[in-house]
Each structure stands twice: as C-alpha cells, then as structure tokens.
Amino acid sequence: MNNRVRELRSLRGWSQSALGDALGVSRQTVNAIENGRYDPSLPLAFTIAKTFDEPIEAIFIPDDE
C-alpha cells in the first residue's frame, strides 16, 4: 500500500518524531510507514487521517490504483 504520510508531514514542517508523538507511536514506526515497510492498523490509519485533517482514502492508496 502506498501513502502520502511523508508528503503531508513535510508540508506541515513536522519531524518524524513530532508526528510520532502526535500519533502515540515511535519515530521508527512513522519512518517505516513512510517508506512502505509497515502498513498501519485501521485505528492508526484513522488517527493519521484525523491528524492531517484529510480523508483516509486521500492518504492511503492501494497498490493497484
């Protein structure tokens, strides 16, 4: 699954650790999500969407799209 987490974080000028704190996860987890090495659970994906004030489908994109 692809995602726009790095793009949205960069647009806001947030660091990975700052985003991690906002989401309640580690910096390593934010890094893994951004690099596509970890797909977040549905609750975490919703938290990410809420944090960026974007719909979830605007952040996470299936591979086949």
Partner: protein, 148 residues
Amino acid sequence: MERDLYVDVMRSTTEETSQFDRSVRDAYLREFGPALAGYIVTLSAVLVFVDFETAGWWKYPAALIPVIPCLWGVRAVARHIGRIDEMQRDRLLSALGVGFGAAMAAAITLGLLGTMATLDTTRWGPWVIYGLGMGSWGIAGMRNSAWQ
C-alpha cells in the same frame, strides 16, 4: 486543532528521539533495571553464602531465590510489550516467536539425547536452551529492527 499540534510538535522538531520513545524506554528501564540488579544481587548472595555440597533440604529454595527477581523481569517485559506501539509489538513478538521456536528445538534435541542416548545434560542442558532461545530472540529482533 492542527495549529495547536503544529506548535506542540515544532518543539521537538530537531529531536531524534520522540517523547513517546523516551517515555517507553524510561519506563522499561525503571522496571527492568531493579529486576536485573535484584537477580545479580540474589545470585551473588546465594553463590557466596550457600554451600550446596553440604546444605540440607533448604538448598532447593535457596537455589530458587534468584528466580524471584527474574519473575519481576518477566513482568517488566510484559508491561513493556503493552506500552510499545503496534509495529514495535508486532516485530518484538515475531522475534520472540523465533526465540521460542529455537528454545523448543533445543529442548527436544537435548531431551532426545538425554532419554534415548542417555547423555547427561542435567547440568548444562537448560543453559543451552536458555542461550539459544535468548540469542535467537535477539538476532531476530535485530533483523526486524533493520527493516525499519
């Protein structure tokens, strides 16, 4: 909300380690540290003060005294698993599964050697199982961390 978050998060923009990471690490060290210290102290005390060659029945409970801080360590690890985030938990538990598998394979191997080939493994066998289990857990954990 986003503006408040922006103000909050910019305070830690330059920090490599997040507040979440630090609080999880500190809580783990605060709980596991005393367990490790307790193990070292009780093991040293038992080895120094108990003569297992001549001691009576009480050598058995005395030998088990270091297990008490170990149980505290198990509690610390269990609580740590509850505190870490979902990805860390996933990777830690998968590494733990590898360690468990290695320990079981070692136990079966030594069990067969002991029961069928009558090899006396009573003194060193449990430590081989422990070492392989912990070592495999550690190696699998490092491999999982490298994926991040």
